[in-house]
Amino acid sequence: MNKNHFKGTGRLITLLFRQHRLKIILWLSGIIGVSLAVALAYPELYQTQDDIMGFAMTMNNPAMGALVGSNYALEDFNIGAVFASEMLLFTAIAVAILNILLVKASTREDEEVGRVEIIQSLPVGKLSYLTASILMMLVVNIGLVLLLTLGLTTFGVAIFTWESSLLYSSILGITGLVFAGVTAISAQLSSTTYGTNLLSFGALLFSYAIRVIGDVQNETLSLFSPLGWATRSAVFVQDDWLPVFVLAGCFLVLISIVFYLHLKRDMFAGLLPNRPGKERASSFLKTTPGFIWHLEKGKIIAWFLLIFLLSAAFGAILGELETYFADMDIIELFLADSAGDNMTEQFITLLVAIMSIFSIIPSVSILHSLKGEEMAGRAEHFYTRAVSRNKILGTYFGLSILSAISMQVAISLGLYVTSSQVLENPIDLMTLLETTLVFLPAMLLVIGVALLFVGALPKFTLVSWLYVVFVFIVLYVGNLLDLPTWVNDLSVFQHVPAYPHETIPWNTMGMLTGVSMFLTALGFIGYSKRDIDG
């Protein structure tokens, strides 16, 4: 390959780091912070081998295997395996998301808005910008590996040896790099940032889904997913490095393909064809709700499908789960605190809680789009016409609620279509709908938080995302982290009843809705009083 293609890469790396340093620091500290906190909390929580065995038995079943990709034999469990079972897959996904966001921003997005063009007019090689982006990701991921290894070995208990900690961190880093490669390829295929996002996150979802099905039904299938490989190293027990090498090989292949594709295409162009659009605005599009639906529909439809498919994947394994639980009386004794409850249903309740957090993402994102329109200077196009602020914000608000309801319906439908085929005693759709919709007041409150920031404090909209992450952390590892009760109680999902085991506390639900309406009202008032920024 021509050496000139890479001229000036060094300077561009500096440029990209300056541009993205805040994002990188926040993400890395978040990922490393949560990992270390959990690593420290576990030895306290699981002090005896019996504790560990208890955990192992809850992990060692098809359902948990499907959810978190735990692949340890029952007798192999140690405190490290407990840690990896709970943390590895989800941390790997977080790292993958970081990689997707950074690569997308430094490849297709910079090209689409014309920054690459400015650089390309300088004595800089044709592959330099792309190479700089990939090298930045190498530095970020290797940095993560080193810092996390250092943290785990320094603060962790004896099982966190150098080798195991390095392997654990390396799996995260190399999985991240594979998705950096996937995103870089998406950026060559699609000519827009939007399309790049869609392809990359689609690939991540697809990897997760085929790993779920593969882990439960057909091991070979999982080997087609980077996430399948990521969970197959038996880290802290056998410390098998093969998955790291396989993923590293995969990364190298992806990068070679990216370079090849990049040289083959024109600047600003993608390799996939663009379709011509409609010539006229339909009468629905001409209304305010129609217009905003048109702006946001891609997001809603994509998330609906994502959540439906994930739920369907989990629904599909409920049959095996039922059989498994039927065989294992001991687990029933261990897990079922609320006596007499059906294990499968208990699992569904946990699953619905986790899925509901995903459901809230598009709702928050829809409200944030309004700020995005403002920042991009497009809000002035409607506010200089006969449209009121309340109408616009109200429409975004309505769409956000509609999205929340749709996502909960997607969970119910997804679980229903597959579980009804595999369960001996199928759960009826009504029960599933009730189980998911019971989260609505809590979701309304998160929507209220997002609306408050978009409406009244647009500089701090990041807080709504941090809150969503906080809710997720409390739900997933809150009981392990030994946080004060009041901190846990700040998470709105803590107040949602474990329906159908518990009855619905209508006064709590009313409270949540009330607080949500209060925040929403503040947001509307703030929005009608503040400056529009663009």
């Binding site: 000139n4 001229k7 000036g8 300077r11 561009l12 500096t14 440029l15 300056r18 541009q19 993205h20 805040l22 808005v113 014309g114 920054r115 063009e117 400015i118 650089i119 390309q120 007019s121 300088l122 004595p123 800089v124 090689g125 044709k126 024109d266 600047m267 162009a269 064809p273």
Partner: protein
């Protein structure tokens, strides 16, 4: 000697032919205007010239070097200003200017940099996300002018600038020309092209339809006439070589093809002239004429 040379350049995007056998030459030390309607292929031509798009056919060179293969070497001596500035939102204007200069492998000229900042009244301490469109454009202009280049390629560089800044920009371009720099200026502002350019190329639907000095182009075209006579002029309207004839009582305005000037004057003189003025066509008239005429021709073909 031509510094920039494009020979039979063809560029296709899938089925769509963006450029068809485009020819363009810019000689050392001249300012060449590159004009044409939206979507005609100006920016595509410039991007091929800068080695960002690969030509499907034809030869494209700067300093005799191939625009695609030798782009890195060429760009050490080329400065480019695009019309649409979108910069890195987290960096300040000053940082971006430094960075862009640094990448040229030249020692940035501190004096020049300061001079330009002052000239364009530019505040380099703001983040790029805070600048208005005009100020973002200044970042790119200063970064280009502060560099020590032999060729300047400018794609609608003054979009977003106020008239005062536009004037300063034009004055600076003329200074560069005096220093023997070669400049390719794509622009919609025809008065700017008229004021600055030695030669002009007009591009339409991916084809260069006319090229030459402004005087040469003017010879190909019509004079504007304005008359006032004692009696209304009658037979002019249908005379060959007379166009866009408009009459208001005793006053009339029209255009005359160069070769018919004499005949037209003879006709007018029979009507007791009170007032007669003729002006050379502005570039704008030229441009419109070429555009409309070719539109008609194209329509005839279809």
């Amino acid at each position: 000697m031509s510094i920039i040379e494009i020979k039979d350049l063809t560029k296709k995007f899938g089925q769509f032919t963006a450029l068809e056998k485009v020819n363009l030459k810019v000689k050392k030390g001249e300012i060449h205007g590159f004009i044409g309607p939206n979507g005609a292929g100006k920016s595509t031509t410039i991007r091929v010239l800068l080695g960002m798009l690969k030509a499907d056919a034809g030869e494209v060179s700067i300093f005799g070097k191939d625009a695609w293969n030798d782009s890195v070497a060429i760009h050490e001596q080329v400065a480019y200003v695009p019309g649409d500035a979108n910069l890195w939102p987290n960096l300040t204007g000053g940082q971006v200017i430094d960075l862009l200069l640094e990448m040229r492998k030249q020692k940035p000229n501190e004096e020049k940099r300061q001079h330009l900042m002052k000239l364009f009244e530019f505040d380099p301490t703001k983040k790029c996300r805070e600048y208005s469109k005009g100020n973002l454009q200044k970042v790119l202009i200063i970064a280009a002018f502060a560099a020590d280049a032999d060729v300047y390629i400018l794609d609608e560089p003054t979009s977003g600038l106020d008239p005062l800044m536009e004037r300063k920009f034009q004055t600076h371009l003329l200074e560069l020309k005096e220093q023997g720099k070669t400049i390719l200026l794509s622009s919609h502002i025809l008065s700017e092209v008229e004021r600055l350019c030695d030669t002009v190329s007009i591009i339409r639907k991916g084809e260069v339809i006319e090229t030459g000095t402004l005087d040469e182009l003017r010879h190909l075209t019509r004079m504007n006439f304005e008359t006032e006579t004692m009696q209304p002029i009658q037979e002019l309207e249908n005379m060959p070589g007379v166009h866009q004839f408009e009459q208001d009582g005793n006053k009339s305005t029209f255009q005359v093809d160069k070769e018919f000037t004499n005949q037209v004057i003879q006709v007018i003189s029979q009507y007791e002239v009170i007032h007669l003025s003729s002006t050379s066509p502005k570039l704008e008239d030229l441009f419109l004429r070429y555009y409309e005429e070719n539109e008609e021709r194209a329509d005839d073909h279809e």
